[in-house]
Symmetry: C2
Subunit: 341 residues, 2 copies
């Protein structure tokens, strides 16, 4: 992709620029695969760690990929659909949690420190929630493009891997709406407890999604109009960051359900738009497993987490670093004088 994706005057412009998503460097991936076969272990015995190293080699274009700079970004937004009573927490919690991120007190701060990721937070007009999607569009085309650009701009082009997370009271309902629009099924298939909804809260989430799907039925055959229909800004920013990372062949660690559902709207683009993305964990939110099936991806972790913020991506980064340490540091059979089979 020769020209930058953003700013884009319209979705027509953006779509035209997305017609040539770069793929991985197959030669580098092949060299990494060969190296794995020569390391002092039975072939394949490091399981997923081997796959992760080869994946990183392909996207970084190096037989021995490295993570010198791991960038984590949490996008925060607010959601008009909270008017439908879809979340037990007050919407002010979004801005309070942003303050907590900035003060270093949230889970993602500790988990990024533990795995060596540089964390930043991008606030997306928290005092101006998206529209209530049961009543109308969540975002105009201009608002969508602006939020996507904020996501793309957040990417550090020098990052060796990008971790994505989100914060936004009510956004598990938005995630479920996006997944339902993208992959079908019933609204209930995609709804879970989120931050802690009871049965009545879950019924309100389902009702809101059904109302939105009915209202926006004509918009749901396209990723971008789907985002306009349901929002939110942080979901759009995640899509912008995923696409910007792809343009630079920077591999991405998606977090849990909300982050994965946001990126998953891009699955309908040409060219396997999520090929450079790893799903960090299979969360406790039941829709995440459905997403994994639809995306044909396997999560790195399965820890019953359901916090968001990028918390699962930060834990998965530690596993990814371990995979690269083994890949880059192990002796070959020849180097170690160990007999092969």
């Amino acid at each position: 992709m020769a020209e930058p994706l953003f700013p884009a005057a319209s979705l027509v412009t953006l779509r035209a620029r997305l017609n040539a998503l770069p793929g991985p460097d197959e030669a580098a991936a092949g060299a990494a695969r060969t190296r794995q076969g020569n390391l002092t272990k039975p072939p394949g015995s490091l399981g997923r760690l081997e796959d992760l190293a080869i994946f990183m080699a392909g996207w970084q274009g190096k037989e021995r990929p490295r993570i010198d700079k791991a960038q984590a970004v949490v996008f925060a937004g607010n959601h008009g659909v909270c008017a439908q009573g879809v979340n037990p927490y007050p919407q002010e919690v979004t801005v309070q949690m942003v303050a907590n991120f900035r003060a270093g007190g949230a889970a993602v701060n500790q988990l990024c420190r533990a795995s060596g990721a540089e964390l930043s937070v991008v606030e997306l007009e928290l005092d101006r929630p998206t529209g209530d999607f049961t009543q109308g569009l969540a975002m105009s085309e201009a608002e969508l493009l602006e939020a996507m650009m904020r996501g793309a701009e957040a990417l550090d082009p020098a990052a060796d891997v990008l971790l994505l997370g989100e914060m936004g009271i009510g956004n598990s309902t938005v995630a479920a709406a996006l997944a339902h629009a993208t992959f079908g099924g019933s609204a209930a298939d995609w709804v879970g407890p989120g931050t802690g909804s009871d049965d009545a809260g879950i019924r309100r989430k389902i009702s809101a999604i059904e109302a939105g799907a009915q209202r926006h039925a004509g918009l749901l055959d396209d990723p971008f109009t789907t985002l306009m229909a349901f929002g939110g800004r942080e979901q759009a920013a995640i899509c912008g960051a995923v696409l910007a990372a792809r343009a630079l062949r920077i591999p991405v660690l998606l977090d849990g359900y909300i982050c994965t559902a946001a990126a998953a709207v891009l699955a309908r683009l040409e060219g396997d738009a999520l090929a450079h993305c790893i799903v960090s964990h299979a969360s406790a939110e039941p829709g995440q497993r459905r997403l994994l099936v639809h995306l044909g991806k396997q999560a790195v972790l399965d820890m019953g987490m359901r916090l968001g913020e990028g918390s699962g991506a930060a834990v998965a980064l530690g596993v990814l670093r371990a995979a690269l340490e083994a890949h880059n540091g192990m002796a070959t059979f020849a180097e170690a004088g160990v007999s092969g089979v």
Copy 2:
């Protein structure tokens, strides 16, 4: 347990000393559980990370457990049952891999460096394999007690967590024999490809285990005579280390199938002898999932690994560190001024 477990003149002596395994500090675990409920996240939303922090609090006896010193030990042994053609690699690979561990070239070296564990290797008479269990006892009582003592001695009493691993060509057959003797079922239930056996190799493994189970039928109702029957020295050393760690209430990360099967013989002792042990990963070796069911434990990771060496424990240590970082470092709702539900 007032007196040290080892040296023990006989199994009678050892058994008498095992009659009072200490439990976790429930007050510390309770304080940690309360703390988790006050941290700035929906209750339970860090899933397994919360459980791990509370587990560590109980065994360390501190509301805020720490890992300043993580000790990893790989026990290496050789096995007479290799005479039955149960492994495609020559038995010399065990000593070659020990050299590789000492030179820093193996997977476990890289993975311990990545997660901050100090690695040591304990060779258990590699030039004197245990007896072929299809023909007689793998070990005498004296040999068993010696190997268990080597395991107990390896523990650093200052360790905050102990990671256990093993290396020994042929020892997936020993693991399957131990699990079969301990938990029943058919021999085939417990046998998998190990380092890479083909179908004929798997049949030889099953035949060897069936022959051993028949020969030693009278010994299999007791953990220690089961170890004498099948070996090996590294399995006995793992049991010794697990018991020594328990006496000091040091939590343990067991590795994959072979390490877990070794420790699992202790499940038949009184007093939940593995209560202080975490199973690091559900390996690709199919018997590991059966072990988890029998032990009532959930693995931390599920990465399709099947290498042994402590490699999975080293990766799981990174997750455990992440759990403690979140537990110890996060702000409470009150500290951060975030509204609760």
